[in-house]
Symmetry: C2
Subunit: 235 residues, 2 copies
């Protein structure tokens, strides 16, 4: 049975790394003593080791060990043997390129389908959607494909940001960008605000946290979704 | 002799489409009665016809006719025969995909090298750099490559935005994104603020407008570049 948390962000404003999620993660990872961390997204270009240290430090407080996937000779086996998997944020293009280069996308999909608990934050949540076409990241490398894990039958837009009505900047708002996405792609997009997450348990997909999320469907006006809404029929 | 304007944006806050550039464009396009417009970037997903109408309206005031490249049966010949070329903004992924699909990237490069005056705004400026890896746009379609025109030997980041020190949003700042770009790519990136543009005349590349631009080089602290700075040795 699938057991997945898809979080908009790892860190809230004025918070520390993962702190707001730790009580939840203690339950989510209750049967795991070691978490396999996938540091491929390299936020700010930091190394896999540096990134894994930050995550290790954070999980110490709930008594979980953390191993970076880069510490294993065979990343596919590392995933197959993992008690739990966490993919951290950073740059989605870098993350997806590395997942393809190491040929582990299907391995993760299979492990999670078979019940290995998964946590994604930011870029690690982006890849839980059908494709990475709704990432906010800069395309600093060229991945072999934009197809991702498809744990949910729609796309995720993490760090969803409402239009700033006071801004004098002429760049596109997030809403405009997602509207442009729907000129070329049919699947819904869920804009997850920072502090929101999805909990996937078996066939159930529920919005969690205190905030509403913004749902964009092709050729329809976006709507706000309340916490606890069941999204398992959304596609 | 090359004759190129690479503008950060088509439209300033409280301005109308291209208005701040029109006096300059009157000179830039002085030998052209008709401008070939490339509407492939489709801002907001609007049609090629709709987009071309907006541009046609704007150029009326300086007595230029506008033809959309999509109105021609053979887009390569349209470029070869063009008196002047303008590539408008929108989504860079869509723009670059269409440039490759219509096989016109090299045709534009050759025409502009041979003296056809070129104007780019936003996405149309992004493609003047070596690659589109420093676009701000959402990757709503998958282009066959990120390589672009290389009119300058560096990358462009249009709509450059300084970090908002009051923001509580945890998404990456533009500066962080460009720093991540430099973890994987060697070329400099010029952050062009809205209201700034580059003028390329022959071998000269000068920053124009009233604002400074932010220059990012790999493994160096970013610096501010003054208007009128010659950038032809930057690479």
């Amino acid at each position: 049975m699938r057991n997945i948390i898809i979080a908009s962000t790892s860190t809230l404003h004025n918070g520390t790394y993962l702190d707001y999620l730790l009580p939840l993660l203690e339950k989510h990872f209750k049967n795991a003593s070691t978490i396999l961390f996938i540091p491929y997204a390299r936020p700010g270009g930091i190394s896999h080791d540096e990134y894994t240290s930050i995550v290790r430090e954070s999980f110490l407080s709930i008594n979980k060990e953390v191993k970076g996937i880069h510490e294993f000779e065979n990343p596919q086996k590392a995933i197959e043997n993992a008690e739990a998997i966490f993919t951290g944020g950073g740059n989605t293009f870098v993350l997806v390129s590395e997942l393809y280069r190491n040929n582990v996308l299907d391995t993760i999909e299979k492990a999670v389908k078979n019940g290995t608990p998964y946590l994604g934050t930011s870029a690690g949540s982006n890849i839980c959607g059908l494709t990475m076409n709704t990432t906010n990241d800069m395309p600093i490398v060229y991945p072999p494909s934009f197809r991702t894990l498809g744990f949910v039958s729609f796309n995720i837009n993490p760090h969803y940001l409402d239009p700033d009505t006071n801004s004098k900047h002429m760049g596109e708002t997030r809403e405009t960008r997602i509207k442009e996405f729907h000129a070329y792609n049919p699947q819904p997009v869920l804009g997850l605000r920072e502090g929101s997450w999805l909990e996937v348990n078996g066939d159930s997909i529920k919005l969690k946290g205190e905030l509403t999320a913004r749902l964009f469907k092709q050729n329809q006006e976006p709507i706000e979704i309340e916490p606890e809404t069941e999204l398992n029929t959304l596609k």
